[in-house]
């Protein structure tokens, strides 16, 4: 077991603090959004969802009615956890594409998160992308686009990328309609990446 003592660069630390403070101006919100799930072996139409958030990290997505399909382990759309002081060691990894790159390494080894990399727009104090590796649920990525609600650090669009295990239903059970016999030739979809996009329509803040 190693204990890493890293002298946290003041710039990275203060940047994160500023970002967190901006985010924390919103204690809670309710939002209507259009949820689109994009996985190679799934055809799910976009659906209207209700997104609720409460500080620091209580995030939920609900469909008023109907079936919801969400990646296992939930959509990690909240940056609250990542920005909690004292939970992560901060490593300044420079810049990429005009964005500051900051790596977060958990100080406790018992959590699920192994490493998280944030791409931050320093000028607007907004996190544009977060790539997080976990023990249980693989690596996922969060891409955030901001617009009207940028002042509150609330995105117009959030894209959550995740890993799937693939899917197969035995032919004898599914009894598909297959007049060309084409399905037999294709291999079952194996491990693949999927994405969930939330296009926010409106926020009710605090």
């Amino acid at each position: 077991m190693y204990t890493i003592h890293i002298t946290q660069p003041r710039d990275a630390q203060s940047l994160l603090t500023a970002v967190r403070q901006k985010i924390e101006t919103v204690r809670k919100y309710e939002a209507k959004a259009l949820l689109t799930i994009d996985v190679s072996f799934m055809k799910v139409p976009p659906s209207e969802v209700q997104v609720s958030f409460n500080q620091p990290d209580q995030f939920s997505i609900t469909r008023q009615s109907g079936v919801s399909i969400l990646p296992k382990g939930g959509l990690h759309l909240s940056l609250g956890t990542l920005l909690q002081p004292g939970e992560f060691a901060i490593v300044d990894a420079g810049s990429a594409g005009g964005l500051r790159v900051i790596k977060l390494i958990p100080l406790k080894e018992s959590g699920d998160i192994v490493l998280s990399t944030l791409y931050i727009d320093e000028k607007s104090l907004l996190v544009r992308k977060a790539i997080t590796s976990t023990r249980e649920n693989g690596t996922y990525e969060l891409d955030l686009d901001y617009g009207k609600y940028a002042a509150y650090a609330l995105p117009d669009k959030a894209v959550f990328l995740f890993n799937t295990n693939g899917y197969k239903m035995p032919k004898g059970l599914s009894l598909d309609y297959d007049p060309h016999g084409s399905d037999a030739k294709a291999p079952p979809p194996g491990e693949a990446k999927g994405s969930v996009t939330l296009a926010y329509k409106s926020y009710t803040i605090n």
Binding site: R63, I69, K171
Partner: protein, 279 residues
């Protein structure tokens, strides 16, 4: 031909055997509805195993639309038997009863009589499927409520929103009528050769079972045969639940089924016209 058709319909619906089909469908549908009502969640969990490894599934997955879909999928093999039960009896039954010879001494032509008999068989098929639609669809929606329909295909999962399901079922039942009419026309054809309905009924069901196995088996040798088997196309009703709906494929399947119907009926007419009635 209308008087003949009315008489043939009257005959079908006066025979006690006809009602076996309606009772059987009711029993099958209610059994499945009962089973799913009692323990549908574990059935769903089992069916969704592959998907729930990577996803959290929430909401009312077990709803009337899914129950109806499960019922239809379960009865792929059974409904043809119920169709054959009546269609196979149309000519063989008359021969066995001894009424065929009396019928054919009346002025109606043999072609006219065949037309009326097949027309009545078609009416029976439609009635049976409407009965099934009422029980399986309306009944399930009443019991379980409507909701989104999740279709688990071999290599794909389709989610159909609640408002997008009902029209698909309308088309699916319409297609099922064509599919079951194909079975009826086969049983009808076999009925010409026999003096007892058992033979045509068993033969029809056996043919459907064997061809369905060939249609669903994954053996490369049979892949070449599949597009030509009517059983491959009979499950075209499922296509209405795919996203997007493969309209062209379904259209071709329907045309192939109609082609089979015409061939079977044509063969029936040809044989019956020339047949010596010795029964």
């Amino acid at each position: 031909m209308w008087p003949l058709l009315r008489i043939e319909i009257r005959k079908i619906f006066r025979k006690p055997r006809t009602y076996i089909s309606f009772v059987a469908i009711a029993a099958m549908v209610w059994l499945i509805q009962l089973g799913l009502y009692a323990d549908g969640e574990s059935y769903i969990r089992f069916g969704m195993q592959s998907l729930s490894a990577s996803f959290d599934l929430g909401g009312k997955i077990l709803n009337g639309y899914l129950v109806c879909y499960i019922i239809l999928q379960t009865f792929l093999m059974q409904v043809p038997l119920l169709i054959a039960l009546v269609a196979g009896d149309m000519i063989a039954g008359e021969a066995g009863m001894g009424t065929l010879r009396l019928l054919l001494t009346k002025p109606a032509g043999r072609g006219e009589l065949l037309g009326a008999k097949f027309g009545a068989t078609f009416v029976y098929t439609v009635t049976l499927l409407i009965w099934m639609a009422l029980l399986a669809l309306a009944g399930s929606v009443l019991l379980f409520g409507a909701g989104d329909l999740m279709i688990m295909r071999n290599q794909e999962v389709d989610l159909l929103l609640s408002g997008d399901v009902l029209w698909r079922y309308m088309f699916a039942f319409a297609f099922a009528i064509v599919a079951m009419t194909t079975v009826a026309s086969l049983a009808f054809f076999l009925s010409v050769w026999a003096r007892n309905a058992i033979g045509p009924i068993v033969a029809t069901v056996s043919i459907v079972i064997v061809l369905t196995i060939l249609s669903t088996m994954d053996i490369p040798f049979f892949d070449r045969l599949k597009p030509y088997l009517f059983t491959t196309h009979m499950i075209g009703w499922k296509g209405f639940f795919y996203n997007p709906v493969p309209w062209r494929d379904i259209g071709v399947s329907a045309a192939i089924l109609i082609g089979h119907i015409l061939v079977f009926l044509g063969a029936t007419w040809y044989v019956f016209k020339r047949k010596d009635i010795l029964s």
